[in-house]
């Protein structure tokens, strides 16, 4: 910045001024060498060596054994499958939340906006073990809903499913309504109260229908803790902030001009969202998703507490690593670890590539995952 202004003001002296600044900022060569060497040594000892060791440990007994450890051990295979079930659900839930939160926070001002933004970061400051404990306290056998879930857990399913369907209907009615007020007719003309009444009616009807048809078993216990739903909840909690955190600054940086233009040209909410908002923020969204995914795949503490470590049932990949480690099966443990390490490396490469594509204003806080 300053160098540029010098250039404009007195061009002949530019070069001299630039060299002077460079000399003032430059450290002596010996210091440069020592500091660079130290920095490389730190990264090699703390990061490179461990990564190499993962692969060396995994391949210690040859590629054949490596493959067998990964594919032929039924418990390991199940752990991979379980991780591939739990992670997409948790990430998808957080993506929907992240997009909604970013839209509300970056596009509108309302009282409590700063507080809401701060609350989104809350899960980052909760120890994963404590996060797991929270869900045990709520859904565990001795937890607040424990007795109910054990007695007749599926009784909540009609309400849950109906609530989800009503939510989807609400989304649909919002996004498909015409943007021009004058063009709104029928249901789209109704004020929020009417919509709420309609939603409530649909909800009650859906619940009654499910109960009448006996879709869900009665007097049967529903397991959340020590089962897949608990793993999903714990993972979703721990990775909660990632997508929203990445999207909010990106949306702020882009601004609402193009969206307003789309609306004024007659697009409805849905068209505006898919043709303007999503293309604009897509790299920020992908960035958030890969960070969220990496953390979700590797989550250990929270999942450890809610899983109950039943081999072949509730062990995810990181838990499987620990179990094999406890059984002194180091090649097996490292084999699973190598898959997760590969994933981490891919995540880093994609992250690097994306960072050049995301609008700049939030470069300053590109600390990756914050805590």
């Amino acid at each position: 910045m300053t160098v540029e202004t010098t250039e404009v003001r007195d061009a002949p002296r530019t070069r001299a001024a630039a060299t002077k600044i460079r000399r003032a900022q430059q450290d002596p060569a010996w210091l440069r060498w020592i500091l660079t060497g130290l920095a490389i040594a730190v990264v090699v000892v703390l990061i490179v060596l461990p990564v190499l060791h993962v692969f060396a440990g995994a391949l210690a007994e040859g590629a054949g054994v490596y493959w067998k450890n990964l594919v032929e051990d039924p418990d390991t295979r199940h752990a991979i499958g379980l991780t591939l079930t739990v992670v997409p659900i948790a990430v998808a839930a957080n993506v929907v939340f992240g997009v909604a939160a970013a839209w509300a926070i970056a596009r509108f001002s309302f009282p409590g906006r700063t507080l809401l933004t701060a609350l989104i970061d809350l899960p980052f400051s909760v120890s994963p073990v404590v996060a797991g404990l929270m869900f045990v306290l709520i859904f565990g056998l001795q937890g607040y809903f424990g007795a109910f879930l054990r007695r007749d857990g599926y009784a909540i399913m009609p309400y849950l499913v109906s609530a989800l369907l009503v939510l989807l209907l609400a989304v649909a009615s919002f996004v498909f309504r015409p943007s021009q007020r004058r063009a709104r007719r029928g249901l789209w003309k109704t004020p929020p109260l009417g919509l709420a009444l309609a939603g409530a009616t649909v909800f009650v009807l859906l619940v009654l229908a499910q109960q009448a048809l006996g879709v869900w078993p009665t007097n049967k216990s529903l397991k959340i803790i020590f089962a897949t739903p608990g793993l999903v909840l714990a993972t979703a909690f721990v990775t909660f902030p990632f997508v929203a955190r990445e999207l909010i600054p990106v949306m702020n940086a882009i601004g609402a001009d193009e969206e307003l233009a789309a609306l004024s040209l007659g697009a409805n909410g849905w068209q505006m969202f898919w043709h303007v908002t999503v293309p604009n923020v897509k790299w920020g969204l992908v960035y958030g998703i890969i960070l969220c995914n990496a953390r979700a795949m590797g989550e250990f503490g929270a999942v450890y507490v809610v899983s109950g470590h039943i081999a072949g049932e509730t062990d995810t990949m990181p838990l499987r690593i620990e179990k094999l480690f406890q059984e002194y099966n180091m090649p097996g443990s490292f084999a699973v670890a190598s898959v997760l390490t590969l994933l981490a490396i891919v995540t880093l490469v994609v992250k690097r590539k994306l960072e050049d594509r995301i609008p700049a204003p939030e470069q300053g806080r590109r600390t990756g995952a914050h805590p």
Partner: protein, 274 residues
Amino acid sequence: MASVNRRVLPGFSLTLGYTVFYLGLLVLLPITAVFVKASSLSLHDFLGAVWTERARAAYLLTFGTSFLAALTNVVLGALLAWVLTRYTFPGKRILDALVDLPLALPTAVGGLVYASLYVENGWLGRHLVPLGIRGAYTRLGIVLVLVFVGLPFVVRTVQPVLEDLDPETEEASSSLGATRWQTFAFVILPTLVPALITGFALAFARSIGEYGSVVFISGNMPFKTEIAPILIVARLEEFAYGEATAIAVVLLVISFSMLLVVNLLESWSRRHDR
């Protein structure tokens, strides 16, 4: 600022409603549950759970190791940030990218590999154990993995500040006769202090709650290498939910105050910028 008329852009009540609903259900409700459960304990039981000798040893170890690790991170992080912004050398981009690896690598993998690097016959332990430096199953091991886990935080908070530093201040300092060392100590370092403190706080906060990596390397011996999250898990495995919750509340209160400190520091350093 992008505060747009709510009547023009669609979806305000829908997205805000969903955000609050999901946040409440997944985050606020569980956090409340912990405090409700803790408040159902009598004061005597609560203190009995959080102030046992074993628990005190665990807090002390958690804070001691986290503090040491965060301090180490400040030194190493400042070094890395300096080298990455000021010097050019082959492989710099790779080095820069590698700094983020601890954020992407599952903590369990980090713990596993550190444990086996520093045991007696490991790649590094082979040379270190004969010198009397035992990295695995000791407190040193806990510090080592916490340094690994917290490294990116300091680097990534200091780096942008160094990049934005005005070259003219350094030129002014040197033209006024300061040596390079004086320029660093009296001109550059003071502007880095807020970022260094923020980085320290972030690394420290992360270390306090860390579980996945420590559980592999610490050996988890009560009074010796048992950190607070490991104690919580131990209590849970004894089905002592009340005691586990009490210790969890202590950890939560500490992490939330750390979060507050970080936010205050950030707003303070932002005011400092102007």
